[in-house]
């Protein structure tokens, strides 16, 4: 990209260099894991999924949240999202790539991944997740690419892309629904065995994803001088507020059903998460930080004075994002295994190698996102001039 209008090439390339370093470290850690096995992780016989699958679950939500831009823009003709719809689609691409990577690094036999297709098994929800995630990746690459190319040539996008865009809307819902089905159909894992897991996932995704988009929009405004526009931001904020409220409402419903019915197996995982169980409660501080950050952020977002202030908005969005990440990217997956089927509390502690791999994948996502955003913004600016 010559004559890039983005100022601060040095800053951009230092950022890319930094990400490359984190990726290299993660890759080295992954080679170590390939060599010695998943014993290098904190996972074990009892907590058999850890931070990888938790990140996977969380990132599926971030990917799905692109629909919160696509839907108002294309279905309700909300023009103000015109400048940033592609930012949503590109965020989805980066997020889905991260999801796929998190699944692969979690596998005991990654070289056999194609068995999922070779021995396609429709009664396994993992098969469907594989289909919908890869499909969603293709759809978003297509939509983003076609829209940008059209803008580059200053022509309207071809008509055939419209149905694909419309398809992307239910498809976005499907990826997070199927991901919830991975968990919500397992007998004996009571934290997950709840019919509102899919809606809960969607609510937390539509709060976390757009929060991240707001942060990214504020960031590109600062570093690339690309303004999403006040209306777009305020609409996104509205989405964040409603989805965030729905999320905490759903969490409350889980508490009511478990604790009012007083059925021990339904209460155990929640007890472990928020209060500790059998004297063990490694996640308790995290869950309360999550609750405080989330509820606090929503409280401040409710007032126009605070949410119209960009500094406050950024702070609140960051707090909410972290809150939902703790809830879904740590707590939900781990506590599903606690207590184990023998009603014993056996905890999980993440290892350094696992963290390095996880950071490496986050860095890959950030790198993809940075490159795509840079390309998109260059095109958009050239077009607008």
């Amino acid at each position: 990209m010559s004559n890039t209008p983005i100022k601060g090439n040095v800053a951009y390339y230092s950022w890319v260099g930094f990400l490359a370093l984190v990726i290299a470290l993660g890759f080295a850690a992954y080679l170590r894991q390939l060599d010695q096995g998943l014993t290098l992780t904190g996972m074990g016989r009892d907590v058999s999924w850890g931070v990888y699958i938790a990140q996977f679950t969380f990132m599926v939500g971030v990917a799905a949240s692109a629909v919160m831009l696509v839907l108002p823009y294309y279905l309700h003709d909300f023009k103000h999202f015109g400048r940033i719809v592609v930012l949503g689609e590109f965020l989805a691409i980066a997020a889905v790539v991260m999801c796929l990577l998190f699944v692969v690094v979690d596998m005991g036999k990654p070289m056999r991944v194609l068995n999922v297709i070779l021995y396609a098994t429709p009664h396994s929800m993992l098969f469907w997740d594989f289909i919908v995630l890869n499909g969603y990746l293709v759809i978003n690459i297509l939509c983003g690419h076609v829209a940008l190319t059209a803008e580059k040539k200053s022509v309207p996008p071809p008509a055939w892309i419209k149905p694909v865009i419309y398809l992307s809307i239910p498809w976005a819902f499907s990826i997070h629904t199927v991901t919830a089905f991975l968990l919500a159909g397992l007998p004996g894992r009571h934290l997950w065995l709840t019919a509102i897991l899919a809606p809960r996932f969607l609510a937390s995704a539509f709060a976390a994803g757009p929060s991240l988009l707001i942060l990214l929009a504020l960031l590109v405004k600062k570093v690339a001088n690309f303004d999403a526009g006040k209306e777009a931001l305020s609409k996104l904020t509205t989405i964040v507020i409603y989805a965030g409220l729905a999320n905490f409402f759903f969490v409350g419903l889980e508490f009511f059903t478990a604790f009012y019915s007083n059925i021990p197996s339904h209460m155990h995982s929640l007890q472990y998460l928020y209060f500790g169980l059998d004297g063990k409660g490694a996640l308790v501080p995290f869950m309360w930080v999550s609750t405080l950050l989330g509820v606090g952020a929503l409280f401040f977002l409710l007032f126009p004075q605070t949410r119209k202030n960009e500094k406050f908005l950024a702070l609140a969005c960051a707090a909410l994002f972290i809150s939902l990440w703790i809830d879904k990217g740590i707590g939900l997956i781990l506590a599903g295994f606690i207590p184990n089927p023998f009603d014993e509390v056996i905890e999980y502690a993440v290892t350094a190698n696992e963290v390095a791999i996880t950071l490496g994948i986050w860095a890959i996502g950030a790198l993809i996102l940075s490159m795509l955003y840079r390309a998109a913004i260059t095109v958009k600016k050239a077009w607008e001039d």
Binding site: L38, M43, W49, N115, P122, H123, S124, P187
Partner: protein, 257 residues
């Protein structure tokens, strides 16, 4: 309908709606209200099962465990996190989580109980496996294909009994001695008790049954009303683990003396 045809239709049905349509339809018809999954009567077919009579089991004895683990090349990694086990003893209160209460007869809660894969008639592990690496044989044995398993561990999340172990590390490193009659596993795949399918196919009984000098274990065809196991089930009061989950375990316990 032949078994393979029925399976095919089930899968296509599943392919259309994301769920196994045929088996669901079965569930939507009128059935009896019972916590126990009604096992379909297929008298022409074998369904292997086991009765574990804990009133006879000697405290401190681990003969069955030893024989099973050494003959199946189950490694001993020496730590709980990486542990592989096919059959083992755990306190009653952990095995029968919902059937324990604090006023139970002396020592009952802590009494070690044998536990192993239940070879469920409706196995959730098989339902969730994305490659059919774990599958239910027509004779009811829930079996693993170690060469097809991708190591996603979905079956471990799906099994409500903690019956499955994953090879977090190379199992061959920690084998005390190698038994050439049974394959060793590779790192990265799941394994569990296989009801000694390799012996059943030769007309033999499972190793644990043979190893036990106290006659704790009775193995046989649950579909044959004249089998020894069915007679025992008809005489003694028995229970299964977590029947309320609809898994229909094929392992039964005699609890009282």
């Amino acid at each position: 309908m032949s078994e393979s045809r029925r399976k095919f239709i089930q899968q296509v049905g599943g392919g259309l709606v994301g769920l196994s349509a045929i088996s669901l339809l079965g569930k939507f018809t009128e059935v009896e209200a019972t916590a126990n999954t009604e096992v379909k009567d297929k008298p022409a077919q074998i369904r292997w099962g086991m009765v574990v009579d804990m009133s006879k089991c000697k405290e401190g004895c681990t003969d069955c465990v030893q024989v099973c683990h050494s003959r199946h090349n189950v490694p001993d990694h020496g730590n709980a996190k990486d542990e592989i086990k096919w059959i083992w003893k755990a306190p009653y209160k952990n095995v029968f989580t919902s059937k324990s209460h604090r006023y139970q007869q002396q020592g009952q809660l802590e009494k070690p109980f044998l536990t192993l894969c239940n070879h469920c008639d409706e196995p959730p592990c098989v339902r969730v496996c994305p490659t059919q690496a774990t599958f239910r044989r027509p004779d009811g044995i829930v079996q693993m294909d170690f060469h097809r398993c991708i190591g996603c561990r979905f079956c471990m999340a799906g099994c409500p009994y903690g019956s499955r172990s994953f090879n977090w590390r190379d199992p061959r490193e920690n084998l005390k001695q190698l038994d050439p009659h049974f394959p060793t596993r590779e790192r990265g795949v799941v394994e569990k008790c296989n009801f000694c399918a390799e012996r059943i196919d030769q007309g033999l009984n499972p190793l644990c049954q043979e190893a036990c000098k106290e006659g704790v274990i009775t193995f046989g065809n649950l579909n044959d009303p004249n089998s020894e196991i069915r007679k025992l089930l008809g005489e003694k009061r028995t229970m299964q683990r977590k029947t309320e989950l609809g898994t229909a375990p094929s392992v039964f316990y005699v609890v009282e003396s």
